[in-house]
């Protein structure tokens, strides 16, 4: 039953794509690819929902031998635990909604059916990634979503910026993937398997590692995390995600906000049991830095989608930080809430863009016409269109709340959620849980690192609130800045607003936090994380009932002890427990404060105009420039990496021509010179069509021998008789 359900979940979208591809070979299209894909997604959604209750029965419903190489076997299979189910639902749900939204949004596009086919393919890949029970399967899904991302970012490939962006996305993530692959190789070399679960799975085997092997495990963990760095756009590989906004907005919502980019977080969460203190800390720091860096960049963006993109990057950093700090449940919880409200934000922005778009056809290419036709040879990752399309420029917007009430309303909900406005919005809870977890660990371990991480998270939270409200204020409040465009704007059709409303509903905790109740999501054990003084205790379990009345996420102490009793850890340390409780309280207060501060500042800047944003920008010009130029990451990559790569390949190509042949050449020259010195014939100019210099030398030698053949018979006789004398003398001497 479970197996067939999962199969249906996977096959439904795949079938949708396959139909498209097969008909495509015959240069035909399925009449209603959009309905087909949407239907497939809805089927998958239904099955996913059904699976909620099936979790407990058997976490490994299916394992098949995929490859057997004598001693080593690679198996493929499904793994179904609560996290899987949650991810399945998130993916299928967001995907379904995006499908529906796209019916409206993409209407009239010349490649309309293709879009849906690609969405289906993506959904399949993502779901495959989610349900896989082994690293190989995850990696396969991982790369496939990368491919879909590539295809969808480059959906409007006529735009050079889109063409560049998709390539950049693929390549940048591939760099991370290579790291992940190396990590997989390390694990495989050690454990001779890539299966995660089961008796001989990695998680089982990892428990037997000696302490001396932990360093290697740390490296492997970090390398696996590299994959997540790429896919989840963590610093320093984050630059592709903002560029990926060249894709159609529903794509941004689905892939680059809700699902694919979250796959990195999912992966790290899945690999939770092999994380060591070192690798955890690296993950947490990368996450923290990403959260902060991306947030600061987002402040100064004007492109509505880029603001959201940086916001996504920042939030993903948040999740990484959470998992790195051991707050497994919090991280996944934030993943879920973020998926909904960020998808909502993107779709909302899509709705806005769509509204503005009425005046431009999709492909009028106003902003790409000026684009250079000649291709820049050096550009591998180079980003072209840094100018903002007018329909996405917030400076053209303003005052839309009346024109687009539904869009405004839903987006506001999402903004409140992401900003961490307390209690009624899911974002608050998930973010709060992260902050609490990090602070709890800091206090518990008395770890400077975690205090730093906590402060990073806190600042990022404040900035998030600031720039999100900046977005809202600039877009929906105030006066229309571009009247002409404003006049054209209109509320989107119902196929677009309904998904928004559904997503808005999902931004309330009552709807989605239920999954993270005490029984449903349990953090796996980390065998190699040991606290300095006492046995490892998950912050999640310990901070459980510090939730002001919401016991949704809590696990009572007794229950936790009961469930985790097997591994000899004690859960009765009251001091420890108290620390977490305290931490949670502090975190909550602080988070409410920074969120409030952020919103307030935003209001003062962009609504009240108490301060002038431009003024501040002028005052802090260097900082502003830093933010505006995105910390110069792109420039760095362009300037150094790309140049290096291209230079290197040029070098190689040159090497091929000049060096290899050059060696031959050199040998030839030396030989030739010696030859010439001995025989005294000067260089014979060599004729065309020689294979290479060896042939040239050979040829030259042939020419010399020819010259001995003078045609005068007495020369020949000299050779004969001289030869005789020589032979005799030579053999006489030996």
């Amino acid at each position: 039953m479970v197996v067939s359900l999962i199969s249906i979940i996977l096959l439904a979208p795949l079938a949708s794509f396959a139909i498209f591809a097969l008909l495509g070979l015959a240069k035909r299209n399925f009449p209603r690819q959009d309905y087909l894909s949407t239907f497939a997604m809805l089927v998958a959604l239904g099955c996913s929902l059904y699976l909620i209750q099936e979790v407990v029965s058997d976490p490994k419903p299916l394992t098949v031998e995929w490859l057997s190489l004598g001693s080593v076997t690679f198996s493929m299979g499904f793994y179904l635990d609560s996290v899987t189910v949650i991810m399945l639902i998130v993916v299928t749900l967001v995907s379904s909604l995006v499908h529906i939204f796209s019916i409206g949004y993409m209407h009239g596009d010349p490649r309309y059916p293709r879009f849906f086919a690609f969405l289906s393919l993506f959904s399949f890949s993502m779901l495959f990634l989610v349900v896989s029970d082994n690293l190989l399967g995850i990696y396969i899904g991982w790369e496939l979503v990368g491919l879909c991302s590539y295809l969808l970012i480059g959906f409007w490939f006529e735009k050079d910026s889109a063409a560049n962006a998709c390539k950049k996305a693929f390549l940048t993530t591939r760099v991370g993937d290579v790291g992940m692959f190396i990590g997989m190789m390390m694990l495989f070399a050690e454990f001779k398997t890539l299966s995660l679960y089961g008796d001989n799975g990695i998680f089982d085997a990892v428990t037997t590692l000696e302490s001396g092997q932990i360093a290697g495990l740390s490296i492997a963990g970090i390398l696996i995390f590299c994959g997540a760095v790429g896919k989840s756009a963590q610093v320093p590989l984050h630059t592709w995600l903002p560029d990926a906004m060249e894709g159609p907005t529903p794509v941004s919502a689905l892939i680059h906000a809700a699902t694919m980019v979250a796959a990195g977080v999912y992966l790290v969460a899945r690999m939770f049991p092999i994380l060591t203190p070192t690798s955890s800390l690296v993950i947490a720091y990368v996450g923290g830095i990403t959260a902060l860096v991306a947030a600061t960049i987002a402040i100064v963006r004007f492109d509505i989608k880029r603001v959201l993109a940086y916001s996504t990057v920042s939030q993903l950093g948040y999740m990484m930080l959470a998992i790195g700090a051991g707050s497994y449940v919090a991280g996944l919880f934030h993943l879920t809430t973020h998926a909904f409200f960020k998808a909502l934000l993107f779709l909302g922005s899509g709705s806005v863009i769509h509204a503005f778009h009425a005046m431009h056809a999709h492909h009028d290419d106003e902003h790409t016409d000026d684009a250079e036709h000649e291709h820049d040879d050096h550009s591998l990752v180079h980003e072209h269109g840094s100018e903002i399309p007018p329909d996405q420029d917030m400076r053209n917007m303003g005052g839309l709340r009346k024109k687009m009430p539904w869009t405004f309303g839903t987006m506001l909900v999402a903004t409140l959620s992401i900003s961490g406005v307390p209690f009624v919005f899911s974002g608050f809870w998930s973010k709060d849980k992260i902050l609490a977890g990090v602070l709890g660990r800091a206090m518990e371990w008395n770890s400077v690192h975690h205090y730093i991480l906590f402060s990073m998270a806190l600042i990022a939270a404040g900035i998030t609130a600031f720039y999100m409200f900046r977005l809202i204020f600039m877009t929906f409040f105030g006066e229309p800045r571009n009247q002409e465009m404003h006049n054209m704007a209109h509320e989107s059709p119902w196929v677009m607003t309904v998904p928004l409303i559904i997503l808005a509903a999902l931004s309330f905790p009552i709807v989605n936090t239920g999954w993270f109740n005490k029984d449903y999501v349990k953090p796996p054990e980390q065998h190699h994380v040991s606290a300095p003084q006492h046995a490892y205790v998950s912050p999640d379990t310990k901070t459980a009932d510090a939730n002001f009345g919401f016991s949704l996420f809590g696990t009572s102490e007794a229950e936790a002890a009961e469930e985790d009793g097997g591994n000899g850890t004690t859960y009765t340390d009251d001091a420890h427990y108290a620390v977490h409780k305290l931490a949670h309280n502090i975190a909550m207060v602080l988070s409410i404060c920074v969120a409030g501060l952020g919103i307030l500042l935003s209001w003062m800047f962009y609504q009240r105009r108490t301060f002038s944003a431009e003024g501040v920008a002028t005052t802090f010009r260097p900082v502003y420039n830093l933010f505006w130029n995105k910390y110069y990451f792109d420039e760095f990559y362009d300037g150094v990496l790309v140049a290096l790569t291209v230079w290197k390949s040029r070098l190689f190509a040159k090497f091929d021509l000049s060096f290899i042949d050059g060696i031959v050449n050199g040998v030839g020259k030396v030989t030739r010179d010696i030859f010439a010195a001995f025989i005294g014939f000067f260089d014979n100019r060599v004729v065309d069509g020689l294979v290479n210099r060896v042939a040239e030398v050979t040829w030259a030698a042939g020419g010399r021998i020819r010259k001995i053949q003078t045609g005068a018979i007495q020369t020949y006789l000299f050779v004969v008789l001289g030869g005789i004398v020589l032979i005799i003398l030579i053999f006489r001497l030996f």
Binding site: Q714, L721, I724, V725, I728
Partner: protein
């Protein structure tokens, strides 16, 4: 070895052979060279006599002096009006040629001096049984019949060939 008339005559033949051979390879006038060659061939014939090869000596005189030498002189006359060879011989070629032939001579002399089985063999002077008759038997009836027949074919071929190649009228 006592110095008798026989040895004197022997050395006379030997020296005249070598001296005239030297002349053959050095004199400029080709007719002179031909005559020097004649002396050499006579000398060799004389040496054959010393080796109890009277029939051979006669053959040498008849075939060589009477045949080959005349042929050569004919050749000289048919190919060149000028008998003088005022041809500049390259010094390098001369030196190299001299060097090679000298090296060969030295090698051969070394060998002759260092081969025990060739040493100290003196001619006891016993005459062979009537040479002409024995040779005739050997050639026509015994061991050397086959070479004789083959040589006859060879001579025929040489005859045809020489005639063929030197024939003028073939050229249109």
């Amino acid at each position: 070895m006592e110095f008798t008339l026989k040895t004197f005559i022997f050395y006379g033949f030997a020296l005249s052979t070598i001296a005239s051979a030297l002349a053959v390879v050095t004199v400029r006038n080709i007719v002179h060279a031909a005559f020097a060659l004649m002396v050499t061939l006579f000398g060799v014939a004389g040496l054959y006599v010393f080796l109890q090869a009277d029939f051979l000596a006669a053959t040498q005189v008849i075939v060589y002096v009477g045949g080959i030498l005349v042929l050569i002189l004919f050749g000289v006359m048919m190919t060149s009006g000028r008998l003088e060879m005022r041809i500049h011989i390259e010094r390098g070629q001369l030196l190299l040629g001299a060097g090679i032939s000298f090296a060969l001579l030295m090698l051969l002399l070394t060998v002759i001096a260092n081969t025990p089985i060739w040493k100290n063999l003196t001619d006891d002077g016993t005459p062979l049984s009537p040479t002409t008759e024995r040779i005739g038997q050997l050639i026509l009836n015994e061991k050397f019949l086959l070479p004789f027949e083959v040589v006859s074919v060879l001579l025929l071929v040489a005859l045809i060939g020489a005639a063929l190649i030197s024939r003028k009228e073939v050229r249109e």
